[in-house]
């Protein structure tokens, strides 16, 4: 059973466009929602994270939007660049189920076309 559902599986965006990746969860005890970025041949690296006490968090061109009532959160990449081409994973943890476990989505392969 996938604790965190991620879409789309792949995404192609023109340079300068906005990339949007969506995630949904069921466990209302989750209280930590990070996004990880993975380049080919590398391990994932933390990009940005949010906790449910805020609805949005922005770091540079990357923004997480969080909708607690809908149990959804999304990553927006503004002014997408070819260097943003990577695989992105959302994740969630918290509560007793996620006490020792960070549950990852299935990943989105982003390609930004010059």
């Amino acid at each position: 059973q996938q604790q965190v559902k991620q879409s789309p599986q792949s995404l192609i965006v023109q340079k300068g466009g906005i990339s949007i990746i969506n995630c949904a969860y069921e466990n209302t005890a989750f209280d930590y929602f990070p996004w990880y970025q993975q380049f080919p041949g590398k391990g994932p690296a933390l990009l940005i994270a949010i906790r449910p006490d805020v609805s949005e968090k922005k770091e540079g061109r990357f923004t997480i939007s969080f909708n607690k009532s809908a149990k959804q959160f999304s990553l927006h990449i503004m002014d997408s660049q070819p260097g943003d081409s990577a695989t992105y994973f959302c994740a969630a943890s918290g509560g007793t189920t996620g006490a020792n476990n960070l549950f990852f989505g299935t990943g989105t392969r982003l390609t930004v076309i010059p």
């Binding site: 209280d31 690296a45 994270a49 994973f89 476990n101 990852f104 990943g107």
Partner: protein, 111 residues
């Protein structure tokens, strides 16, 4: 610069062989993790260790065991490798509600 290193980038083993994957971190983290990454399935937790000699099963522990004799080192053991264990294995250290730092991964092929 924080670092998690894994002993091999690529590994090819035969069915039935015992396989050791080693991971070392230099950040003095209490927690260490082993994941496997498969296309379309994301990252799935195999085992988690929160202290030396302490371990907990993750989502998919079957066919795997782990060892943590020193704080900086966490090993994943495949007692008898099978073809369905062909995968990318990622080690991480850090928090569950905080940053996890990942190694570069070991791509294991079991023939």
């Amino acid at each position: 610069d924080v670092k998690v290193t894994q002993s091999s980038r690529y590994l090819v083993k035969r069915t039935g062989e015992k396989v050791f994957l080693e991971c070392v971190q230099d950040m003095d983290h209490e927690n260490m993790f082993w994941y496997r990454q498969d296309p379309g399935l994301g990252l799935r937790l195999i085992y988690f260790s929160y202290d030396v000699k302490m371990k907990e099963k993750g989502d998919i522990p079957e066919g795997y065991s782990v060892s943590r004799e020193k704080k900086e080192r966490f090993s994943l053991i495949l007692e008898s490798a099978s073809t369905n264990q062909t995968s990318m294995y990622l080690c991480a250290s850090g928090g569950v509600r905080d940053t996890q730092y990942f190694g570069p991964g070991t791509r294991l092929t079991v023939l």
